[in-house]
Subunit: 927 residues, 2 copies
């Protein structure tokens, strides 16, 4: 293997290659595929790839060391290109021109630098003129090269944002002098003049001569590509896309081919299947006499590659068949032979890669060259359809089909989206966090109760709040979407909205909300109550005005892939839901139980909140019991609804968790109301409310600390649960209640709560003369619970990991306040990901794993699940599978995602195991 280590440059060309498709880590995606295409006989301009290790070395040891290290290999690579193409670097007769492109392991489109037409100088340009018989083309290529190289390698950038590009400035000046409008109006002499002026400008600004030596040009370009790996935008892109900085980029050096050498040349991009719908239709666009950028630039309207596509396009664009034929013919019609070769090639590539391919090609003077192939990006709908189609076609097996769908992408299929055309014209006025996906449009209201009123009169509203609290729940429920100025991805607004499957943008720090004036200001615009805005919960964007939304349809393939997932996954997927409606939604999405039914939301709403407040404000146990007597039938009824919706499936009900301060009225009006209701003074209410406030409510009087200081609350809740289950049993409906104690930190806390639950249940059984089965278990969300899980399992029949709180306490991050430093931490790379979104496997995960081991040691058949937000995050689901949980539970709209992720976890683990076995065998064989 040591030989490989000293190899840094991999040549390819003429159906031979030193690399192949499996070497993406070393050669980058582009380089590996260029090699592979050669190996399967696809025509590719010859060249070589400098591997990613060299990039790493570049940052470790610097430019000079790297040049020394790879000089001979690069020289040999160039020689190979010259040999194949019959050209020569800097030659007067037949000069070798090269392209230099980046190519990382993962695609980072447009993020890094490219240099084309390299090798041109005052001598070579004559060679090109002679070879092509096209002096203008030769000088235009030269002009472009100087411009590109000047920009990329010699850093001829605009001085500031306001300044124009220095080369464009020169072009504009010359056009003015020549009194012409278009670049194409410039004569060959003008182009020569431009090259001269460009070089003069470079010298003036950088103090360096523009290099004429092709070798100097080549080294400059290669190093510039390595340098572009660490530009700000590249770093930012990688952060967004979870690409590690350590990967580095490869550099691909290839012979230039030109699509702009006349009517017998051209260029295009193509997809082997439809990237939007997944249909098995070869499609793409091309331009005659053009270079690659021109297709993307959109100055000329490209033609369709297939005739069928062209006809379809014309129908949509309302272009007559005559017009189409003459002005927008397909490649199939214009160059039937080339088309035939291209079609065969695309088929070959798709068959070879067994996935939908995204191709770039160039036709130079009647010869087809493939410049790139890669797995094509696609919509979720296409992802699902292509996977299932290829499975049906026998191209891939079930495992591969399952692995082809990105779980997180499924979200697209489940939420409304903005109409494509409408969104193009829309004006973004603010950006927050993409807290809960989907699109929403509505009129601004600032108060939850008013949201209810407006909604009642059939208005569509967006609830805009600085932050939300449980009091806002009903208003959130009727709103189309929620926008908050504060709070992260796991703020109250975000968590609740995701639970509801409702669009939410949270923590839009740049907006200013004035509750009194009822205005929302951002981006210089002041919106009033009733004004229309729109939210994209998948991107965090906030738009001015009303934007049409559409509800994507779920294809039949979606159901099939879910079925496949179910057959593969070991873990079950439950849902977090606390209404019959949400339960039903989740069940429809395939949830096989409720993993977290919060009971606190039930206390909000007419009649309930008053009784709840009376309970909280009561002077003593008697007072509390009186109020609890009112709450009991209400809770029972709530549970009956949920249990019925989830009949035959387990429902984990968590006893009261939040600090009581969240329930009491904080404004005088509500306080007076309670004073009147309870016949006490306003001051008395105020004092009680004040007494309940806490400095760190997250670590305060909440969870089972409530039930252990006021056992009568747990008693009431246990009774409501058991009575609800028994009432349903009497109606022949089967229930499986699992009663969950929140925030347990010591075995004594757990035992005391278990006692209350079991004693109460026995009482109810006696009263009703019947019994049901139920479990008592606990959340593991306090680090100490994880550390003492062996003790806690002596009482708890199940553990459910509350990884939201566990993450808060393990990191010591308040998710309500983390907005002050988390963004900086992510930006500075102190944190690779937001631990509230992806479970921190190193730290928090250790506690989860510890609990699993300790819990199972004490109680081998203990049920283990997760009900934190992470239960719907694919990477966290995979972790849960690996540590051996029995189920994950997530919000209804993430159930399909979790189901798929659970299936993929099984496949991935098996593959790892296989890989390990193989490597062991290899090691053995070596011995």
């Amino acid at each position: 293997m040591s030989k490989i280590k000293n190899k840094h440059v991999y040549t390819f060309g003429n159906k031979e290659a030193e690399g192949n498709a499996t070497m993406k880590n070393l050669l980058g995606g582009k380089g590996a595929n260029l090699a592979e295409m050669n190996l399967i006989g696809v025509p590719v301009p010859p060249g070589f790839t400098i591997n990613t290790d060299v990039c790493t070395l570049y940052y470790k040891e610097g430019r000079d060391q790297v040049v020394e290290l790879i000089r001979k290999e690069v020289e040999a690579g160039v020689k190979n290109v010259e040999n194949i193409m019959g050209t020569k670097f800097g030659d007067k007769e037949n000069p070798c021109l090269l392209s230099v492109r980046s190519g990382a392991r993962a695609s980072m489109p447009g993020m890094m630098d490219t240099v084309l037409n390299l090798g041109l100088n005052d001598i070579a340009v004559e060679g090109i003129t002679r070879r092509t018989g096209n002096e203008r083309f030769a000088w235009d290529s030269y002009r472009r090269f100087v411009q590109m190289y000047g920009d990329v390698v010699m850093e001829m950038k605009p001085e500031s944002k306001e300044d124009i590009d220095p080369f464009e400035e020169i072009i504009d000046k010359l056009k003015e002098e020549k009194k012409v409008n278009l670049d194409t109006d410039l004569s060959t002499d003008d182009l020569k003049e431009l090259v001269k002026r460009f070089k003069t400008a470079v010298k003036a600004k950088t103090g360096k001569d523009f290099p004429d030596d092709p070798w100097e040009q080549l080294w400059g370009s290669i190093m510039a590509v390595f340098g572009s790996w660490m530009t700000e935008r590249a770093i930012y892109y990688r952060k967004l896309n979870d690409i590690p900085d350590e990967w580095g980029t490869a550099v691909n050096v290839q012979a230039m081919v030109f699509g702009n050498m006349g009517q017998n040349s051209g260029t295009g991009v193509a997809f082997t299947r439809d990237a939007a719908t997944g249909e098995d239709i070869f499609n793409g666009e091309y331009l005659i006499d053009a270079q690659g950028e021109d297709v993307v630039a959109g100055i000329r309207t490209p033609g369709q590659i297939t005739k069928e596509g062209s006809i379809r396009w014309a129908a949509l664009a309302k272009v007559s068949e005559e017009d189409r034929k003459s002005n927008f013919p397909s490649l199939e019609e214009v160059m039937p032979e080339i088309y035939k070769e291209l079609d065969a090639t695309q088929q070959k590539l798709e068959d070879h890669y067994t996935d939908m391919q995204d191709l770039e090609f160039t036709i130079q003077d009647g010869k087809l060259w493939l410049l790139q192939t890669r797995n094509g990006k696609r919509t979720c709908a296409a992802m699902v359809k292509i996977a299932m189609d290829m499975l049906d076609e026998g191209m891939i097996n079930k495992k591969t089909a399952l692995m082809r769908v990105e779980p997180n992408k499924l979200d697209e299929l489940l939420h409304p989206v903005f109409d494509d055309n409408a969104i193009k014209k829309a004006n973004v006025v603010a950006k927050g966090l993409p807290a809960s996906p989907g699109a929403a449009t509505g009129q601004i209201v600032f108060h939850a109760d008013e949201a209810e009123e407006w909604a009642a009169s059939e208005k569509k509203v967006i609830l805009v709040r600085i932050e939300t609290s449980p009091e806002d729940l009903k208003g959130m429920n009727v709103a189309e979407g929620i926008l908050t100025a504060r709070g992260g991805m796991t703020s109250h607004a975000a968590v609740v909205a995701r639970g509801m499957g409702k669009c939410c943008v949270s923590g839009a720090g740049s907006i200013k909300i004035d509750y009194k004036a009822r205005t929302l200001s951002c981006d210089g615009i002041t919106f009033k109550e009733g004004d229309w805005i729109s939210l994209n919960g998948s991107t965090g964007e906030v738009y001015e005005g009303k934007i049409q939304t559409t509800q994507p349809e779920m294809s039949g393939d979606f159901g099939k892939i879910m079925e496949l997932a179910n057959k593969t996954a070991r873990m079950k997927v439950r849902t977090n839901a606390d209404t019959p409606h949400d339960s039903q939604v989740a069940r429809d999405f395939g949830a096989v139980g409720i993993g977290l039914c919060r009971t606190e939301h039930m206390f909000f709403g007419d009649g309930k909140i008053q009784a709840m407040r009376e309970m909280i404000l009561a002077e003593d146990e008697d007072g509390r019991r009186k109020a609890l007597d009112i709450l009991l039938p209400i809770q029972r009824e709530d549970f009956e609804g949920i249990f019925e919706a989830m009949h035959d499936l387990p429902v984990t009900v968590r006893l009261l968790d939040p600090p009581l301060h969240e329930f009491v009225p904080h404004e005088e009006k509500g306080q007076q109301e309670m004073a009147d209701l309870m016949g006490i003074t306003l001051e008395g209410v105020k004092e009680k409310v004040e007494n309940l406030s806490e400095i760190n409510p997250m670590l305060g009087h909440r969870g089972c600390r409530l039930g252990n200081t006021y056992p009568e609350i747990s008693e009431m809740q246990a009774r409501a649960i058991i009575e609800a289950a028994m009432n349903l049993k009497a109606k022949g409906i089967n229930t499986h209640p699992e009663i969950m104690i929140p925030l347990t930190g010591t075995i004594e806390e757990m035992k005391m709560q278990e006692d209350i639950v079991r004693t109460t249940a026995e009482k109810v059984f006696k009263e009703k003369g019947d019994r049901i089965d139920y479990l008592v278990g606990t959340m593991i969300e306090v680090p100490r619970a994880a550390l003492t899980a062996d003790e806690i399992a002596t009482s708890a029949e199940f553990f459910s990991f509350g990884t939201n709180d566990l993450t808060q306490m393990t990191f010591g991050y308040s998710r309500d306040d983390a907005g002050k430093f988390l963004p900086v931490y992510l930006q500075k790379n102190i944190l690779k990901v937001d631990p509230f979104q992806e479970l921190d496997q190193t730290g928090v995960g250790q506690l989860v794993e510890m609990s699993v081991k300790k819990g199972r040691k004490t109680r081998p058949n203990i049920k283990l699940g997760i009900c934190g937000e992470h239960g719907g995050d694919p990477s966290s689901v995979e972790f849960c599978h690996r540590v051996g949980l029995d189920y994950v539970s997530c919000s209804p709209f993430r159930v399909p995602i979790a189901r798929l992720a659970a299936a993929q976890a099984v496949i991935r683990k098996k593959e790892e195991k296989k890989a390990k076995k193989t490597s062991k065998k290899h090691k053995k064989a070596k011995k």
Copy 2:
């Protein structure tokens, strides 16, 4: 050993015994010593001890099973008493009378039940009359027995708190009928009448006949003693004194001896040394013709046992020698023979037990009986003196001397206390937590700045606040003591006060403070500003008015025991201090470094706080840097002072930790001041302040999150530290700075801070052309830091366990808010101890141990210490020793405690090791 398991009753008497002093766990302290006294030839009334296992069985299996189990053994025990005493149970001629007393492993004085004179009935009373020739004595004993048995066994208790004892009611009634005032005025016939009426009352109230059968009496009494183990007050006492419920009590049944049989009888208590001072003087009190209770009851003035003591007493009581001789003679004078025997016995007992003994004795008709011996309780001064004296006398070795001093007791020697006489008359008006020990008396002020003003004019003030914040620091420093309405043992007030060695009562929930009216209300009294109150920081009591305090003197023995401790301890003891004064105090107490020098306190005070606020309120880095430039010389000077005070010793300086919100002005006046100073609007300041507020500040933007989001702060602090050290070096003063990063949770956070510190240090070295040695390390106070200690140790050169925060996050308890549930948790036994006072070894300790292992694995020579409050708690210090920390750090006034605890930890571990070895040997031998 199985034979022993079936043995439940251990007899003793006549210099023989089945038990001995080592069997305290089984026989209780009293029982073991009764046996032991027999073995060494001390006269003890014969009897037997029912072991503690039976108590456990009593609660597991119930009364009947227990009686069945031990019946034969108890019968044999009684027989043995009868044989030795020549008496017979229930006999008409010479009845056997018994006492039944509890006796747990640890002394629980007055907590459990006792029955005396058992065996009396209408027949036996005649026997006693005949034997003693004293009918009145016989019937008085009978009357007392019925009363005691009725109370203890038959539960003849007052119906409610307001009611009088039912027996006392009968006595009062008879006295009224007989028109007499004193019990002693009742005739023998009256006593007979009382017995009759008592029995009638028992029958009427309980429906049961009073038992005449001595056996029934005996079983009833034994079971009543077992039953009294679980009375509310016993449970409460055990909680207060950390005695486990599982221990159970033994029952001691003994032949009765009477000190009240005439002038040739008597009773007394004695100490082999002076329990207050530790002086080696036999001392005690006695009464002629009296029973044990009479000495304690204080109705008659007891005489002194020794003549020397009697003369001393007379001098103090201003009693003439003549008066003394005739009315208060010593036992030595009254019964010289008995005295001689007693003196020899006390000497024998002290020599035998090699500790100061607390004896109870009874003289019955000229014969001395010892009823009890135990190690005497003593003041801390006595504890230290006796230990050192006995060491000097060769009675005990160094290890034993060290183990004889309770570390926590040392506190008594270090703080002022209330004058004994003054405190007796004082009125307790409220009770809070004993947050910081000592006594304080002063005038009430409600604001820190006013405390400063008042103190400046030589007034003694008590600062009374709802809670304190860092802004109150200077006021706290000048106050005699601090009283807060809110906050626990580790609230700001408590922690700071302990650091200052200043008396503090925190969380006195019953007091109401009205800042506006400047009043403090409690217990129905309203105190105004300027009124006098007094605080006992060791008990949490708040007194009305001014109470004299005294400063206890430190004896030379204290120094000697500390020296001994130093020679024995492996761990070093450092201190938590952030002023030169505190550093010096701690150094005087033997601290060998600073383990935690907080830097935030330095920012309060004239001129500093404004610059700090400017820094916080600045718009951008430039603004912050400007303010930091002002702070730099101030910090540097602070560090110079501390480093100088701690010359040659290591000083761990923690970089800025608290959330910035704690520094900004919260009242408009201060906000306006900042607005003026900074030339911005009041609204601007208000908005900034508002933006800084957090929902859970404990888990918010603080610790190294500050230094990582605003690196310029860490930079300034690092520079101040390094520059201070270099300035001192220039003056020839040796320093060892250790720079500590707070609240680290990830290796990336640590690395980034380390980088800032090292880069800054190198800059300073370059500037000064010299270098110093310094360390960079971190607090381990976030659970994730403990879990990833192996990673963090790659950067950190030392760990200091911040167990306050680690406890908060591991339990999920906010120490500011825990007052709402912690007291209930302690009361309900959910928590055995407050985890903020004693390190939770099961949970938090796991994380500490894990960090130690992981940290040492990465960096074998990593320095490990603790700087949480637990560093001054003996049980936690022992834990630290066991897990292998290098040092503990605590507030200056706890340094001696920690030093002693560290020494004891070594001894205890060695003893455990020895015990293990021995038990291994035994096991081996058995094989």
